[in-house]
Amino acid sequence: MVAPATLRVVRCGGSTLHGARAVFSADSYLLCAAGDFVKMYSVATEETLRVMGGHADLVTGVQLNPHNHMQLYSSSLDGSIKLWDFMDGIPIKTFTVGSKLLALYALASSEDSVFVVIPKSGERDTFQLVSVKLTKAAGQDLEAKELSVVLDGVDASPKRLAFGREGEYVASVKEVNLQVFFFKRKQLNRFSVSAIKTKSGNNHFTCIACHPTEDCIATGHADGKIRLWRNFYHKKDYTFSTLHWHHDTVMDLAFSMEGTSLLSGGVESVLVLWHNESDCQKDFLPRLGSAIEYISMSSDGALCCTLHTDNRITIINSNLRFSKSIQGLIKSTDVKTGLVVDPRTKALVLNGEPGHLQFYCLQSDQQLFSLDIVQRQYIHQAGLNQADLVKVAFSAQGKWLATVEEREEVTDPELQLKLWFFDEETQSFKLNTRINMPHEDHITDMCFREMDELEDDSLILVTAGRDCVFKVWVMVEDTDPEAQQSVSWSCDFVGSYHNYQATNCCFSEDGSLLAVSFEETVTVWDSVTWDLKCTFCHPPGKIRNICFGRLTCSKYLIGATDYGFLCCWNLLSCALEWSAHLNVLVLQPDPLSEHIAAVSWLSKESSLFVFKPNEPRPIYIQRNLCKEKIQLAAFVPRDEPETIGSEKYHWLRRSQLFFLTDTQELMTLSTKSLEERLTPSSKQLAVEESLPVTPFSLLLGKHRRQQSHEDIDLGKLVHNKHKQDSPAVKELLHTPAHVLPSASFLCPIFINSLLISKENKSAEEVADEVEMESEKTEDDSDEERGVTEMEQEDTSAMELLGEMTCKLSKSQEKELRKIRKMDYSWISAF
């Protein structure tokens, strides 16, 4: 056995989707840079089809190979250019350039070279555009050292450089200067706009786009203007016209494929379509949600997409209609709610759009949905105090959700406590109770009593406030006959301790004890009688975090003070069990085991300590977890326990630890090695439905489908002879088609009935097993990302059905099991 792999900190999803302009492939996939990966989305279904990893740092540029539209170049800060076969997700070649690559451009006219922006050696903050000769040598990893400088003094942003018509010239903007370099004439022209700051903002260039067929350059400016430059091959006779609609910085520009219209976007989150370069003819697509970072056009001009600052990709039709949106993790300015795991969906719940709660699915790296908590129009204005979500808590089963929103006012904050009930019918949270000013001052902590087995009415919510009290809220029967709901929440008990501010609250695992910290003291209360049981303190220093131990360690209470002590108190002896000197920022118990993770911050690095409360020695220490300050952490339960070889990482078996740094990067710990993670889950070629449909293919497709139907019928006929007695098949064949359940439901049963069981199980047993397994397959498909590969396998399934004989070998049986896991919903489409 190989040596146990070390734990690695990996970025897991949630990374910005707007690292570079997205690229439409010829057959309508969307390729975009997402953190260290290149993601491939289907434009038709907005699904993530493939995640291509291999770069060791952020991907900064994605470009189709102009000579092979099935290949893709990507560049990264790690100094390498990779050539991918994106249909298969296979890296074909890796060219190592050496220095950081900040942007990538590929031109049809340059046969074997691409252009990249690299930092100029020896000078800080100056960048140059170089062309990199990509050697044609054999082998996967190649060195690309043949660099030739094209343009000096370019900007680091990929938006500020563009190649003109047929690669005749390259234009770059920086601050107030525009430079255009003509390749053939080797002529460099420089133009500048006046640097005077006007009251509408400064004049600086922010982005550039070149007309595809004419000599025209469009530049966007920080004051919202768009300038269209012409005649720029004359140093003096150049001229420009101005288009002005944006009131703030123009973030990106894109010409349509014919160049007849120009798209622009900015912080207004409005996409503007300018016709014929005219100031008077323009169309708008408003309310896109957040600032537009990048705009890209598909090569056939049928689609365009905008990348937004809130990690969303919007796909827009050519007639400026909103078509689809792909939403990643929204990065809000301040995650006040902390990382909370929704017990129902296992999604990570945190602040999303202002006033919204986002449910983010870690597996698919997509936002599941966004719940509007504040329910107020958000007004974009600097200096305006907005109501925002600050605390969120779920009850154990996720049936209840408690949220606290507050509007920041210096004198008296405006607070609202809202309790939401999960409505099974609509599958969403419904507002049950709204409590205005639950506390006099900010609410510092909030928790539900987590008791799985107890009845609903034992559900208790505790809020701790800076107004020196904690309050206990319980559900009461609503006496008001006009009320639409049967229960509502009201305050049951108010506790305080020596007029100290209540800072944290926490229930023990069985719910019998409540720990509330009041500045330097932790008080423990009986949750039935609300008597103060005992107090703990570890002066000096106020209590920063508290939590109870779980399972075998439930007699311990852990607290962290801001004087850098981690204390563990024994609740039975009411004495300090042990303490350690550790500046703990985050204290996070694993809900499924007795492990507790503590993240400390010392001398500009974060360290992770995992321990069990019953022993003062940590079972795992990872120093220098990352350079950034870790703000929040959460244990997300795994769907099934992972098999982890090393004893050291046993604590990761049941749950996975996620943490959020102060730069809002979501990280996790992984035991898998880099290669393991990077192997694509499947390597089958996916043939997308949305390939351009030709009349021929329609005809052919129809024919094929008929054939496959015949195949199925054939199979049935064959087996009818053998398996007449199967009740499932009987039912299937004798019930009228219009009352049959959906084919996806019937298919596993049908296929199962074709199997010849070895142990001669009875039909009922088989059916049971099938049902069980079908459930499982559903679970599996939740996990699995590549769901679209089914098309490919259909045909093989057909073939199998066709040549099905009575005798089945073991391998065939295995194959069949695999097939059974497939989604057969396509049958219902016929």
Binding site: N231, T239, T242, H247, E277, D279, C280
Partner: protein, 686 residues
């Protein structure tokens, strides 16, 4: 700079008339401008866009179109139905001919300047032959219904394009027939509103450019009658259009006050395919831009807000200098205010009346920058209305305040003003001598004993004023070599010995008043004189030219002074030379003989000859920085130009006595309130 008590006068209610049309002299350096009150002005490009000639308006003579023909002959046509030729030497109407087609909306001269075409209310286009000594009716072209609002000749003179309401027509000049008729409202589908073709241009390539009331600028192929390009530049009408001589650039003016340039640019580098592209927008006006002109180096626009804006094309400029400055002219380049220093009176000249005001006074003193309370308010003494439709050419009040004189095109009036306590009585002086009229400038001698009348052909009349109310003609000065041009500026010395007169040929003649003879001529300089004055002590003549140069000429010695030579050797400060408005008045401070007080629209300057001239690296407007410096450093930083920009726009400044100044301002906002409301436009953020 010296401290003064300043009368800040803001009761001069002048509202300049809006600009109606502009005409660039072909291959010449002059621009003719007509205002809505019928006044015609000529600006000289070579003389730094100086307003060289002004022909005051006439109530019944509106000007709708101006054009240059046969070299430097200027013709105007208007709603009175007459074609008028202007005499630019005598600054009056030379002759006028009835067009016989009702009100004339448009007029255009052919490229050779031999023929004039007019477009009339009744839909006719008439051709006139320009002959020496007048114009002659030649023929009528094909007449259709609908007023002809604009006309343009094809550069080959074979065709004329005429714009009307809803359509444009192209005439063949030889046959006089309509050869093409193009409907312009074709593309407006929903509601049929009439589309007024406001302006038209015929290019040598056969392209006809129209601008219309829908805010479109359209390019037509006249032979096929097809639309080639259409650019919507505005939501309101595009009123005016002008093409550059090379036909690669046009300028259009809209009713929102914006002007746009279109350029004919190649689509790709090196390709022959060219396209008209809207390039630069300019928003200098607040109201309708009724007239635009395209000179070889500048875009010129004039609006109803009375502004004439000259926007140089940077790419045509060789170097950055005063040619490259954006110029905005709202006020005339000559004084409309005269001041009676001793009596503390101000005389304001309006187009058809005069106002005489007495300045307020105060007994208090205060510190720098303080506003002193008045003990006596300024008083409007007399309003003198000029009879008849003619507008006033010039006016003057005598230093003692008891004489007021003004002149119109055909009449000269002299009034005796008498003050009895608070009352004022005014009496017309009967039997003024018959003079060659009109008078272009009037000037009283400093002892109020005589009146100098600037007249045509370089002559200056001297009238002696007699108590209690009479006058007699003493002498007429004529330049020894003769001159066809009228005298437009006069300056007399304080001791009554010298008189300086400047004619339209920019020659300065100095006459001796004691022995009534021509004294000398100041060496000619190739630029227009914008102001001149004679120093009361040294009798040096200070001359300001339109290129912002300053000269000092010693009259007794008949040569430039040493200081003047020094200025010419050192050169003036770059910022001074790049100013865009001319010096309109010069005066002196008797207490400080080395001080020269001069002003233009935007600044008031005390020029101290005793201090060194600033070099280009020094700050010209350094008064505010000087204030913050300690005394020793201030001494080092001092230079000759002490400039005050507090009073803007400054129409007149004069020294009443040693430490008392009068400043006549006319805030632009006050004029704006007098104008009709501009087109309502939604402005972002309001």
């Amino acid at each position: 700079m010296g401290e003064f008590e300043v009368h800040r006068v803001r009761f001069f209610g002048l509202v300049p008339a809006g600009v109606r049309c502009l005409a660039c002299q072909p291959r010449g350096g002059r621009l003719a401008l007509a205002r809505t009150d019928g006044a015609v002005e000529v600006y000289n490009f070579a003389a730094n866009y100086f307003q060289e000639k002004v022909i005051p308006g006439h109530e019944t003579r509106s000007v709708e179109a101006l054009c240059w023909a046969a070299g430097d002959r200027l013709f105007g046509a208007g709603l009175s139905g007459e074609i008028t030729e202007y005499d630019l030497a005598l600054l009056c109407v030379a002759r006028s001919v009835d067009g016989c087609g009702g009100p004339i909306w448009s007029m255009a001269a052919n490229s050779s300047g031999t023929q004039l075409a007019i477009g009339c209310e009744d839909g006719s286009v008439k051709l006139f032959q320009v002959v020496p000594g007048g114009i002659q009716f030649e023929r009528n072209l094909d007449r259709r219904k609908g007023r002809i609002l604009c006309l343009s000749w094809h550069p080959s003179d074979t065709h004329i394009a005429a714009g009307s309401i809803d359509f444009l027509r192209v005439f063949d000049v030889c046959s006089g027939q309509t050869v093409q008729r193009i409907m312009v409202n074709y593309h407006v589908l929903k509601v049929r509103r009439e589309c007024i073709v406001w302006s038209i241009a015929f290019l040598s390539s056969g392209t006809v450019i129209t601008s219309d009331s829908f805010g479109r600028v359209q390019f037509w192929d006249w032979q096929r009658g097809t639309l080639m390009e259409s650019h919507t530049v505005s939501t309101s009408a595009v009123l005016s259009l002008a093409v550059s001589e090379k036909e690669d650039s046009i300028i259009v003016g809209t009713s929102t006050g914006a002007t746009y340039q279109f350029q004919l640019l190649p689509v790709k580098m090196g390709s022959l395919e060219k396209r008209w592209v809207r390039t630069k927008p300019f928003q200098h006006h607040t109201h309708d831009v009724r007239a635009v002109a395209h000179s070889s180096t500048a875009l010129i626009s004039g609006g109803l807000d009375a502004q004439l804006v000259i926007r140089p094309l940077m790419e045509k400029m060789q170097k950055k200098g005063y040619d490259a400055a954006l110029r905005k002219f709202t006020f005339p380049h000559r004084r409309l205010v005269s001041c009676a220093r001793k009596a503390r009176l101000l005389l304001f000249q309006f187009s058809q009346h005069l106002e005489l005001w007495r300045l307020g006074s105060t007994d208090e003193t205060g510190k720098d920058g303080e506003v002193l309370p008045l003990c006596r308010m300024p008083e409007h003494l007399v309003q003198l209305k000029s009879k008849g439709p003619e507008h006033i050419y010039c006016s003057c009040v005598s230093p003692c305040g008891s004489w007021v004189a003004y002149s119109t095109a055909s009449r000269f009036h002299l009034y005796r003003v008498q003050y009895e306590g608070d009352g004022v009585s005014i009496k017309k002086v009967p039997k003024v001598p018959k003079l060659l009229l009109p008078a272009y400038q009037l000037q009283f001698s400093s002892d109020s004993g005589s009146l100098f009348v600037a007249s045509a052909r370089g002559s200056v009349h001297v009238l002696q004023l007699l108590e209690p109310g009479g006058c007699k003609h003493l002498h007429t000065f004529r330049p020894p070599s003769g001159s066809p041009e009228a005298v437009y500026l006069l300056a007399s010395s304080a001791d009554g010995h010298w008189l300086a007169a400047v004619g339209g040929d920019w020659a300065i003649h100095i006459y001796d008043l004691k022995c009534f003879k021509h004294h000398c001529t100041v060496p000619t300089y190739s630029c227009a004189v914008t102001a001149l004055a004679i120093h009361p002590i040294t009798n040096n003549l200070v001359i300001a030219y339109s290129d912002q140069q300053l000269f000092e000429f010693s009259i007794p010695e008949k040569q430039y002074t040493a200081w003047s030579r020094m200025v010419q050797n050192c050169g003036l400060h770059r910022v001074w030379l790049e100013r865009d408005s001319p010096i309109t008045h010069i005066t002196f401070n008797p207490k400080n003989p080395s001080h020269i007080l001069l002003h233009d629209i935007y600044m008031f300057c005390v020029l101290d000859k005793s201090l060194p001239l600033p070099d280009n690296s020094a700050l010209l407007m350094n008064q505010s920085t000087l204030k913050q410096l300690p005394e020793t450093a201030r001494q080092r930083q001092l230079h000759a130009f002490k400039i005050c920009k507090k009073f803007q726009p400054l129409l007149f400044a004069d020294l009443l006595d040693e430490n008392c100044l009068v400043m006549v301002e006319r805030p632009i906002m006050d004029i704006k309130t007098q104008l009709p409301l501009p087109i309502q436009q939604k402005k972002f953020g309001t």
